[in-house]
């Protein structure tokens, strides 16, 4: 193995420090005994215990999870449908406008998306709460799903669907039995993307949330404004842990799937 040069070692260290030092400090202080965030007073897990007893945090966490699951599921269904139309329908009147409108929310500032949704909900007299957050999150994460799924559909061999039709499937069965299982990885990663986007959204949620429902990011944000407490550190550490486990397991699953595919192909060659 090549040894690192002095320059490479330095830039590597600095780079990693820049990325991870803030998180390491946060994690370290979440185990701090003291109530003062910046003074180390010995190891303790008491803030994690405190967190579990804090009902308002738990409620917010539950709302966040419900919103994320509901909005990412709806967004996945709508986004996949939009992708199908964009990739499959060929030319139709207003196609450019349609695709532009689907991708616009990607670049739209969140403040504007949030504000316009807020105005809409007020305009039609809809009470703000968990339902409005779900709608808002569906709106902005749908386009991400649509981008992910349509990039898969572009390389999808249409003759697979024609073969299904030819063998007696109705168009819906052809989609359900052939297309969907094949594009499933893209649909799932679209769902995961929508899920994470919803989990950590602060701006749009704060426009569309009402007194009856608050998400965790809003809760943390408003708590921090009154001063950082070790409890927030503990909460953030848990979130980092969940994300890390998710990312690592996702990449392990992909890695294993591709290894198995390679092994299968090798077996086929020698068969």
């Amino acid at each position: 193995m090549r040894r690192l040069t002095w320059f490479n070692a330095t830039s590597l260290t600095l780079g990693f420090a820049f990325l991870y030092l803030p998180m390491i400090i946060l994690i370290t202080y979440s185990f701090n005994e003291s109530k003062l965030v910046t003074v180390w007073a010995g190891f303790s897990t008491k803030w994690y215990g405190e967190l579990l007893r804090n009902q308002s945090f738990l409620d917010a966490a539950w709302v966040t999870v419900k919103v994320a699951i509901a909005s990412s599921t709806i967004a996945t269904i709508l986004g996949t449908m939009a992708a199908l139309v964009l990739v499959r329908a060929g030319r139709f009147y207003g196609r450019t406008l349609f695709s532009g409108m689907i991708y616009a929310p990607l670049v739209m500032p969140e403040v504007i998306t949030g504000l316009s949704l807020l105005l809409l909900f007020i305009g039609i007299g809809m009470d703000r709460g968990i339902f409005t957050i779900i709608l808002a999150h569906t709106t902005f994460s749908m386009c991400f799903v649509s981008v992910v799924v349509s990039s898969r559909l572009v390389t999808f061999d249409r003759s697979l669907e024609e073969a299904a039709l030819d063998l007696g499937c109705s168009p819906f069965d052809a989609f359900r039995l052939v297309t969907l299982p094949i594009i499933a990885p893209a649909v799932i990663s679209g769902w995961l993307l929508a899920f994470t986007l919803s989990l950590d959204d602060l701006v749009i949620a704060s426009f569309t949330a009402g007194p009856s429902a608050t998400t965790l990011p809003i809760k943390i944000w408003s708590a921090v404004r009154l001063g950082v407490s070790p409890e927030i550190n503990a909460l953030s550490t848990i979130m980092i842990g969940i994300v890390a486990v998710g990312v690592i397991s996702a990449s392990l699953i992909t890695k294993r799937a591709s290894l198995r595919q390679q092994a299968d192909e090798r077996a086929a060659v020698h068969a």
């Binding site: 039709l165 030819d166 063998l167 007696g168 094949i182 086929a268």
Partner: protein
């Protein structure tokens, strides 16, 4: 006992399985199929042959139901196909890319169509096993498509399209992805399976050798029209046009003018050259333009002028294409006309007579050349 020749197209009592009646297909301004009327009979192995873009794939996709004719009708066993969607037709297709479902095993791929029909489990299992046996795939039943070789995939695709016992099987360039050796073996396998199952096959191909090998009739297509549909032998020996003669196999085309002479015609093809002679059933006016189509294997090559042949011309060997079993000589006549002559290499290399720049005589019989209009 007299051998029964399979020629339903010559039998006025035979009922065609497929009838194209004035079928035209347009894509916008482009006419893919131009007013075609023809029949395909039961148990036929019918080949649509032509260069890419000639409309052969469109023809097949209309039979499968993926395209609808702009004008005219297609009948299957007397029934108009137009209102029937692809999933309700007793027509199955083997796709060029095979289109095997990657998430299903070989067994499940073959069972796919049967399951859609809601057949009982044991019936499906029996039929799939039968198909696996027919295509010699028993030991691969549990594999996924990416775990088997190209030739095996091709057989899975065939088994899957045959499983529902369709009235008509469409094959879209079925052997395009296979290498030459495997392709040849598979051609005979296809013919064998076609004979065993008694299914009518329609094959689309741009490979003339493949069409000639497998088909009972070959339809040569150009620009959305069938130029000639006939048995491989008649297509080769009796082409009806310069296009067909030129498209199938090697040929020398010599343009000239015809003049009646005894049983046949004398064809003047160049100033100062003795006219060539050909017998034909087609009638030409005196002075009418015509084309002589001459297959290279029907042209003999010799050092001395042969005494017994009316058609003999002298020329110089410009090029020799050595193919192992055959050699094709490109011989230039004094007027610049090039004629191809082919000889079988029955002797080893050292014993062969002619080489570049040699002056030789080419000769052929009165009936060897085909005389074409145009």
């Amino acid at each position: 006992m007299a051998q029964v020749v399979f020629e339903p197209w010559n039998d006025p009592k035979a009922k065609p399985l497929i009838q194209f009646k004035g079928v035209t297909k347009r894509f916008g301004e482009f006419t893919a199929i131009d007013n075609q009327t023809f029949d395909i009979y039961e148990r036929e192995f019918f080949a649509l042959l032509g260069p890419s873009g000639c409309g052969k794939t469109t023809m097949m996709r209309m039979l499968a139901g993926f395209e609808k004719p702009t004008e005219g009708k297609i009948l299957l066993a007397g029934q108009d196909l137009a209102p029937i969607p692809p999933n309700k037709r007793s027509v199955n297709m083997m796709f060029q890319s095979y289109a095997l479902f990657p998430h299903l095993s070989v067994w499940e791929n073959i069972a796919f169509g049967l399951k859609r029909d809601g057949k009982p489990k044991d019936v499906i299992a029996a039929r799939v096993d039968e198909m696996l046996k027919l295509t010699r795939l028993q030991q691969f039943a549990k594999r996924k498509p990416h775990q088997i070789s190209g030739g095996q995939r091709q057989r899975v695709a065939l088994a899957r399209s045959l499983a529902k016992a369709p009235k008509l099987l469409l094959l879209d360039e079925p052997l395009g992805a296979l290498d030459a050796k495997l392709r040849q073996a598979t051609q005979f396998e296809l013919m064998d399976i076609q004979e065993k199952t008694g299914t009518t096959f329609v094959i689309v191909t741009h490979d003339q050798e493949e069409a000639m090998t497998v088909a009972s009739r070959v339809a040569v297509m150009d620009n959305g029209r069938i130029i000639q549909a006939d048995t491989p032998a008649r297509i080769y020996e009796m082409p009806n046009s310069v296009y067909v003669a030129d498209f199938i196999g090697e040929v020398t085309i010599i343009p000239g003018t015809a003049r009646k002479s005894g049983e046949g015609y004398e064809i003047a093809y160049a100033e100062g050259m003795t006219p060539l002679y050909a017998e034909t059933e087609t009638t030409f006016d005196n002075g009418e333009t015509c084309h002589i189509a001459l297959r290279p294997e029907k042209v003999a090559i010799s050092a001395e002028r042969p005494e017994d042949r009316r058609n003999a011309v002298q020329g110089k060997i410009i090029d020799i294409a050595y193919l192992g079993n055959l050699s094709t000589y490109h011989v230039a006549l004094p007027n610049g006309q090039m004629i191809k002559a082919q000889t079988a290499n029955t002797r080893r290399l050292s014993r062969r007579g002619f080489t570049w720049e040699d002056t030789v005589w080419l000769s052929w019989t009165d009936t060897a050349a085909v005389l074409l209009k145009g």
